[in-house]
């Protein structure tokens, strides 16, 4: 439960790159409050996804500070960052990133394994989310041969399982038709209205314009 709208994400002077000579992010700063939905826009190679995954604690910046809730994740090790990711962050990837060897249902509840949550409790939520997003495949079916829209709706259910206070989405509507894109967009905006901070990297200027704010990278 989120008690106020102070920043859930607060970054200052973030520097990161794939080679020392050419940092992708050089002193980037920004914050995202609960209930806010923010777009990261910019040309390819500008560091949109990189910034998103830094905010998602998957990588540690070379320098700067990054607060996620009450944790300064730029200064903690893998265990601490994984704890924050597991407890507070949901990811939506451009290509859904489902495990084709698992059932649809197992894909949605997979995160509970690493959190140590009850599979039964997670299962109740998962079924409700799948129903909400209109996933019309058997939840026991393996996540193979799904349409892009179906896969992304399942991935969305996975990201929103346990109502994380932060959701990070990397081109969440990039490969979708209009109907599915609208469904994903609506779900993210609704989640923001419930008090969560949403950050999405996107090329879609129309979608970015609907967000509360935009981080523009060059």
């Amino acid at each position: 439960m989120i008690a106020n709208v102070r920043p859930l994400i607060e970054a200052a002077a973030i520097t990161f790159g794939y080679s020392r000579e050419q940092p992708v992010l050089n002193g980037w700063s920004g914050s995202v409050a609960g209930g806010e939905i923010v777009a990261i826009v910019g040309p390819s190679g500008s560091g949109k996804s990189t910034l998103l995954y830094i905010l998602g604690t998957l990588v540690r910046p070379w320098s700067g500070t990054l607060w996620i809730g009450d944790h300064d994740v730029a200064r903690v090790g893998d265990r601490g960052r994984s704890d924050v990711r597991s407890a507070a962050i949901g990811f939506v990837f451009q290509d859904a990133l489902l495990d084709p060897r698992r059932s649809v249902f197992d894909n949605v509840v997979e995160g509970a394994v690493y959190r140590g949550d009850s599979r039964a409790e997670a299962g109740v939520q998962a079924r409700a989310l799948l129903e909400r997003f209109g996933v019309d495949v058997e939840s026991s079916r393996r996540a193979t041969d799904l349409s892009g829209g179906q896969a992304q709706r399942i991935a969305l259910a996975r990201a929103l399982l346990d109502s994380p206070p932060i959701v990070l989405a990397d081109e969440p509507t990039g490969n979708l038709d209009h109907i599915n894109a609208k469904l994903v967009e609506t779900a993210l905006f609704e989640h923001a209205r419930s008090g969560a901070a949403i950050v999405m990297a996107t090329h879609d200027e129309v979608l970015a314009a609907r967000c509360d704010r935009t981080f523009r990278l060059s």
């Binding site: 106020n4 998957l58 990588v59 809730g69 893998d78 994984s82 140590g116 990397d170």
Partner: protein
């Protein structure tokens, strides 16, 4: 420290082990190729180790039995001087010691002539002996059978036995002769084996008198471990007169040869087992590493969903453990059965069990490095879409 404190307090997840163990079983089942190859390795290693070492142990046993047949398990007591003969009663006393298989007492050698029903008399050498475990045959013992040369035993007083080979050579098969002088009748043949095979060159005359003076006693023990304890007790059993006038010979050269054979076989076994385990470890490491490389996006997804590097390492290691356990269990039983079938001898169950445990440990150890590499791989590079 930032100035405005967020009210979002993020607690640490519970990180349940049972859920992770169940997930590792899922990893093992879904990674069919890697799990299958690990299981095959786990199957082959114990079969190879138990099979090869089992056959080596059998071969070692055959060599040791041959050495023992020559006399590694024997002790020879020799009267060191004329007139310091050992009383025949010592044979019975030594035979009572723990670990003694049999005891032979030999008196002096004497020359006689063997008079056959046909042909010229043949000069032969004879031993007075007591306690010799030989196989008797002839008119009195038509079936043959193990017996002891003793007064009141198979050889009655005043009779003699010729070795089967000598009897055949001098044409005594089926009919017997007389030893001169003395007129001792030869009433049958004997066969002596192992350390006593040298007796086949002689005619044996059973000792019939407790006062028979012995020049040599040969003691065979059940196991080489009994050689020293039995030898140490012998002086007290040969009588006070002889105690200080005997020499006790142990087959030290044969014992050394025996130990050398055991050491050599054990050394070769160790080398072979280490080589098999090393090859298995290397192959398993390559297979598991290839599997983790192929599953990079899978690991990236798990990281994004909150898995720690430690959890990913555990998943790979436990994902290796399950097929390793299954393959090893089957392989160990097959290897054990193979040895039992092939050589008719089942090794102590602790040996295949130890091999099985070692195999599982080696395969799990082989997964540690690939697991650590997979867990620490940068997730950003594998999950972002270019």
């Amino acid at each position: 420290m930032r100035s405005d404190v967020s009210t979002l307090v993020i607690g640490a997840p519970r990180r349940s082990w049972p859920a992770l163990v169940a997930e590792s079983a899922r990893v093992a089942v879904t990674a069919r190729v890697v799990s299958g190859l690990v299981a095959v390795l786990a199957l082959v290693v114990p079969i190879a180790v138990v099979g090869v070492t089992g056959l080596n142990i059998e071969a070692q046993g055959a060599i040791l039995r041959q050495i023992d047949a020559i006399g590694a398990r024997t002790i020879t007591i020799v009267s060191a001087s004329v007139g310091a003969a050992i009383p025949a009663a010592a044979v019975e006393r030594i035979a009572q010691l723990d670990g003694v298989s049999w005891v032979v007492g030999l008196g002096n050698v004497f020359d006689v002539r063997l008079r056959a029903p046909v042909g010229e008399p043949t000069p032969v050498r004879a031993y007075r002996a007591v306690g010799a475990p030989v196989i008797f045959g002839g008119a009195s013992y038509p079936d043959g059978g193990q017996g002891l040369l003793a007064a009141g035993g198979p050889g009655d007083a005043g009779r003699a036995y010729l070795s089967a080979e000598s009897a055949r050579r001098v044409g005594l098969a089926g009919s017997y002769g007389i030893l001169d002088p003395g007129g001792l009748p030869v009433v049958g043949w004997f066969r002596a084996q192992g350390p006593l095979s040298a007796l086949e060159a002689f005619v044996l005359v059973p000792g019939t008198d407790d006062a028979l003076a012995l020049e040599r006693i040969i003691v065979a023990v059940d196991d080489v471990g009994w050689v020293d304890p039995v030898a140490d007790n012998i002086p007290a059993l040969v009588g006070s007169a002889a105690a200080n006038a005997i020499t006790i010979e142990r087959s030290s050269v044969l014992l050394q040869a025996r130990e050398a054979v055991k050491d050599e076989v054990a050394r070769r076994d160790r080398t072979l087992v280490l080589a098999i385990l090393a090859v298995a470890m290397a192959l398993a490491g390559v297979v598991i590493f290839a599997g983790t490389v192929g599953a990079r996006r899978d690991f990236g997804r798990r990281r994004a969903l909150g898995a720690t590097q430690g959890q990913l390492t555990v998943l790979v290691v436990l994902g290796t453990l399950w097929p390793a356990l299954g393959g090893t269990a089957v392989g160990t039983i097959l290897g054990w059965g193979y040895v039992g079938t092939r050589v008719g001898y089942l090794p102590d169950w602790r040996f295949p069990l130890a091999v099985g445990i070692l195999t599982v440990l080696v395969l799990v150890a082989a997964s540690a490095l690939p697991a650590a590499v997979a867990a620490t791989r940068d997730p950003l590079r594998v999950i972002r879409v270019p």
